[in-house]
Subunit: 236 residues, 2 copies
């Protein structure tokens, strides 16, 4: 069974949703037969290389909130993350354009699925917990190396445009599947769950998708003439 999860590395609900999905998977009886594939989704493809100014001020300005309202919003997100064991400090993050990070995840998957998944987690951790500037090549190389990628190969990728098409292809599929926000969970391309829903819901969908993917074969008719041994159904 294939579970594809569209998400961005700077998306707090994606990190929370990742933990909730992991809890669901821990309880799923066929977990060993589930392949998880993290897919690229940029929340803001036009984001500047590095966003200046503080996050709270940015939110306040964008949504016409007071500084206190924006602070409460950010604090609530931190609380939701803390409930999943993530030491998030959203106001202290260093946002920026995530296109390079997504190309790097494709490089990691090109090595193997385990490395791809490890890099996804490492990038979320770097951004939300270590407060790393998500678009800085030097920082991205460090994260890549931490999961076993080659520093030279990572740096070369960040200096060029490798895996551009693969990131765009992920985003194209997300659009075709109706994803407008992330996280967006897709099970065997049969069921979609938008948003960071709770582990019980995700577990129920895992089970439903599993049943759909493992149906009993259905025999239709059954009276067509056959040959069996060297006897064939014929009217004598």
């Amino acid at each position: 069974m294939l579970v594809e999860i569209w998400s961005d590395v700077v998306c707090p609900w994606c990190y929370v949703g990742k933990r909730r999905f992991e809890k669901a998977l821990d309880r799923f009886e066929h977990a060993s037969q589930v392949e998880v594939r993290w897919r690229s989704f940029e929340l803001d493809p036009r984001a500047p290389f590095r966003r200046t100014g503080d996050m709270v001020g940015h939110l306040a300005a964008k949504y016409g909130l007071s500084h206190d309202q924006a602070l409460r919003q950010v604090g609530h997100m931190d609380t939701m993350a803390a409930a999943e064991g993530i030491d998030m400090d959203l106001a202290a993050t260093q946002p920026g354009n995530t296109f390079a990070a997504h190309r790097l995840i494709h490089l990691a998957y090109d090595k193997d699925a385990k490395t791809g998944a490890a890099l996804k987690e490492a990038l979320l951790h770097a951004y939300f917990v270590e407060r790393v500037a998500i678009s800085e090549p030097d920082e991205l190389v460090k994260v890549a190396v931490s999961v076993g990628l080659d520093a030279g190969e990572a740096a070369e990728l960040l200096d060029g445009d490798r895996f551009t098409d693969e990131v765009r292809a992920d985003e194209q599929v997300a659009s075709e599947l109706g994803a407008t926000g992330v996280p967006f969970f897709v099970f065997d391309r049969s069921f979609a769950v938008p948003g960071a829903q709770d582990p019980d819901t995700l577990l129920a969908v895992l089970r439903r998708a599993w049943r759909k993917g493992h149906p009993d074969i259905e025999v239709i008719g059954g009276d067509g003439p056959v040959c069996d041994g060297d006897s064939c159904d014929v009217a004598v």
Copy 2:
């Protein structure tokens, strides 16, 4: 969409069923997206290399029929085949063990799917219409060459045991899917049609399997918190 058809090259209902399936496929709107794979099934794995004596006498003896009854049975099969445009003369066929013919079909598929399908048809035609001895290596090589296979490679295969495992694997799957006779049509491993049913039935199953293989994706829930742009669902 994958349609797998288990059949034997000495099975008259398989040849009739092939024509009926081809008629259904001609009328199927997604025919260009259907892959057909002919799979191995020996009606009698213990058949002698070449069966001696005449077919009518063999049937009469095996089933305790009079010569006239056996003759009628064979004549009825010829009539059913004629209705599908096949100039079958069952009494004049030269049966034998078909294991080598099945290994040869796997060799043809190893070249490409078109050659595999062509050899399946050529072997049925050779046996039922040209009255070729189905187990004779020299005859099998001629049929193989007629669809573009290399004479030397075909002869070498017939002299050895190449593709033995592949034939056995096909037969194992047939058994797992519940096939006790052939032809046995399986659509995307979701639907099975035993026997040479009429084109209307086969077309209906093609359409049903197509719908099952191309469902609309189902969205479950829809109120999970997401991030969208640089806005995330949080209570302010």
